[in-house]
Subunit: 354 residues, 3 copies
């Protein structure tokens, strides 16, 4: 090993810096009332938030991100059950880190086979049990219905961290938070049409929960998007009924099919998610889509990827200005901190925590 390998460098060139959360913080006016509904909510779907509530959440997240060493611990004495029946490290650690930063305690369930569910216990009973043990539950499962079955008996909030092919709402929240950090003006409902952005998503909503949730959140802020393209390794990949639902919401969504290379020079945001969740296994999707410094990106464009990545996103992009995926991952912890604070620290004074 290199002689100097043991030298720790705490600051490396940070491609995106922290000027961006500060800028977003200044752009969103504070209005804490919009956070109050969260005290009475489970987080199931990207659909359930008003744009005002989301913007206040993002404001709080930006406040945390801009001041990572100067916030209090509002979740002291609170317990989270981190139930990942479907394997994950990234999302699990993101939530657990957020909860720890806020001062709370955690009980993890990472192996379905060590649970009562292996004994045939209903998820409704598992929820009743969790009521006695904790203040909040985060759940990920390959099985879509698990979320609703557990929720039916819960008297504490549950957060959907991914339920089968259905949704992954906090990921979508983190994704659009990143877009707003990049271009705070996009929050403005009265945005001039020429300032709207074009987004290209590699993936289809009916097979990828991250894409479905993302399009729902885009619909909530549809004023910001000129066009949203869906690319795939084949044409006519997207379920037409699903597509129509988003068109009906007012999102200008276009099937880009296999025309990614042709259209990428027009895109402001390229969102790639190469991991398709298709049941109990992962398929690498999009071998035809490899983003590298040679990709003909538009000047000033950004790349987003929920990670983990494979070959579809070249490491050579990491040190370029296109890399907003690291900022996306970093911001996700702060978005989750903001959300958890509002769900659990129910004193109506969440904005005092930082």
């Amino acid at each position: 090993m290199d002689e100097k390998a043991h030298i720790l460098t705490r600051e490396k060139p940070d491609v995106q810096g922290d000027a961006h959360p500060k800028q977003l913080l200044r752009t969103i006016l504070e209005d804490g009332d919009h956070l109050l509904p969260l005290e009475q909510q489970h987080i199931l779907s990207a659909d359930q938030f008003s744009p005002e509530t989301l913007l206040q959440l993002f404001r709080l997240a930006a406040k945390y991100e801009a001041n990572p060493d100067r916030f209090s611990t509002p979740l002291q004495g609170k317990i989270l059950i981190s139930a990942f029946y479907e394997p994950s490290t990234r999302t699990r650690l993101s939530f657990e880190s957020a909860w720890h930063r806020l001062g709370g305690d955690i009980m993890s369930i990472t192996d379905r086979s060590t649970t009562g569910i292996a004994k045939g216990e209903s998820l409704s009973d598992v929820g009743e049990m969790f009521n006695n043990y904790a203040d909040c539950v985060v759940l990920r499962d390959t099985r879509i219905e698990s979320l609703n079955e557990m929720r039916s008996s819960l008297r504490i909030p549950i957060i959907n961290a991914g339920n089968g092919l259905d949704e992954h709402p906090t990921q979508a929240m983190a994704d659009i938070y990143t877009i707003f950090k990049w271009r705070p003006e996009l929050i403005n409902k009265d945005l001039e049409p020429e300032k709207r952005i074009k987004v290209g998503i590699i993936g289809v909503p009916d097979k990828m929960r991250t894409v479905r949730s993302l399009l729902k959140i885009f619909s909530t802020f549809k004023h910001a998007f000129a066009e949203v393209y869906l690319f795939n390794d084949e044409n006519d990949a997207c379920d037409k009924q699903v597509l129509q639902e988003f068109i009906d919401r007012g999102l200008n969504i276009i099937e880009g099919g296999t025309r990614f290379k042709e259209l990428v020079p027009e895109l402001d945001v390229v969102y790639i998610n190469a991991i398709a969740w298709t049941g109990d296994d992962f398929q690498t999707f999009g071998k035809d889509f490899t983003l590298t410094p040679e990709t003909p990106f538009k000047k000033g464009a950004i790349v987003l990827h929920p990670l983990a990545r494979g070959e579809e996103l070249s490491h050579e992009l990491d040190q370029t200005g296109f890399n907003w995926y690291f900022s996306q991952a970093r911001g996700a912890v702060f978005v989750r901190m903001a959300l958890l604070t509002c769900l659990v620290h129910r004193k109506g004074r969440v904005l005092d925590v930082v």
Copy 2:
């Protein structure tokens, strides 16, 4: 999913309420001296407690249960090793939740294959190791002898969370705590004979550690019980020698065999535990015993079940007055909090914690 699915209801009709812990708290006179012996004890068997010590533990548990938001954190800085070599979620989370509520930290071992034991290390050496790392150990294992082997070298307390077919003392403590919450007068040694209760247990002590421990605890308070029936899906199921041991302790224990349906109208408490631990696997026991709203329960009777449940206990009983199994699960956390406080917070002033 239902449009309103994301609405969280924190209070649902609580079948048993919290009036009961308060009533029990008033009924047991405070006498903290009886808790002092616990500072020098491992918790191995339901046998080892005097009735006075148990009542003071239940008093502390009731104090915690009646004031779930207003107690201090006496286990701050203390570490628990939560060693579940036998799979469990319910008991593990119950203990871990109790320890967290008291302010302590936890290290979990949930997979035997990731431990030194896989390397052939003796449990006595594992205990010696734990002395350096923690302040308390909770152990569950399919192997009966593991508990004693680990205890032999420990200089910190160990709690038996289930050792093979032998015992599960804290479950039995939680079970009788529930009975006392339901009928506080039962704690009285001078109880009039006509007020004694009749209990029916579905299961046999020689195959079910929960039943063995429960009968031991019943023996400690034998004045409260007129009759204790053991039911089974066959006659003469119970080991006669085991039965005689309880008769010798003064418990009026009767083999009910297959006569459950005939006798249930006389029972004040119906205790069902359908999961028989018979080695390394679970067998569903008692398919003939299905409790439903149609079961001819005595008026005012209660049903207890340590959970997880299967078909033997209908969900339709959940909203009825027979449902004391949810209260049983909730109370178990507070009983464990009381016990852990007395074992670990060795300042002789445990009663000040709430």
Copy 3:
């Protein structure tokens, strides 16, 4: 079970007592400046420390060990990622206990199959992810290169808890800390030659990372060692090039081959490590080397073993004066506390924590 089995004895005859950390504390003069470089370091190899830095770490460890109830919690609010891709209980719990004692929070990864690595994610990306979630990483892996690959993107310190056959630096630090507790005069660079000690190690450095790291640390304090023997169950077992590297460092290292029984009466320290890490599995090494009260130890000699032990180290030695392996295990937690404090609590005032 024995009727008195439930009685907890908190103090058993402690073979080595705590007079020893106090004596070491008095022997090493305080000089906190030597700890400052640790604020900018990963802990990869036993090679990377100056003797002055190690002595100050041992001084801090001795301070913790002599005052186990009277230190502050400098890691409050800090998060450790405990990543044990290779199974372990002892080392994992040793680190986690140390971190908890200092007031920090922990996220554990104990099953490689539940991580993003199973998805083909690079360790460099895993490190980038960890930057967002935690303040420190501890890593153990069967694969030698994992450590460096993860380190390459980390902006928080990583500690090598065992990387394949290569090194296990904190174990070696704990080992020599134990030797210094036993004979504090050995820290003295001007030690009279006749006071140097003879050490016998059962095992070879090229197959055992604990031995490799230990010899590196011995080299750092070579003035203390008259002779270091390497014993094996065959002659000419040690790679000559590896041996020469240590000879070049000035360590008087001698291949003892199979001559253990002949030479043991001369040895001041007998170090046995019967578990050879040879890839993904354990081999019991050294069935010919069984230490018992009948072994012809030198008077006043000590036995060290990193544990877990098998048949090679008899339990009958536990109550004898040769048993310094329990002290070795106990001290390891305090050495890790000292190291973690210096790496993470970067206020330049670590010596105030106790």
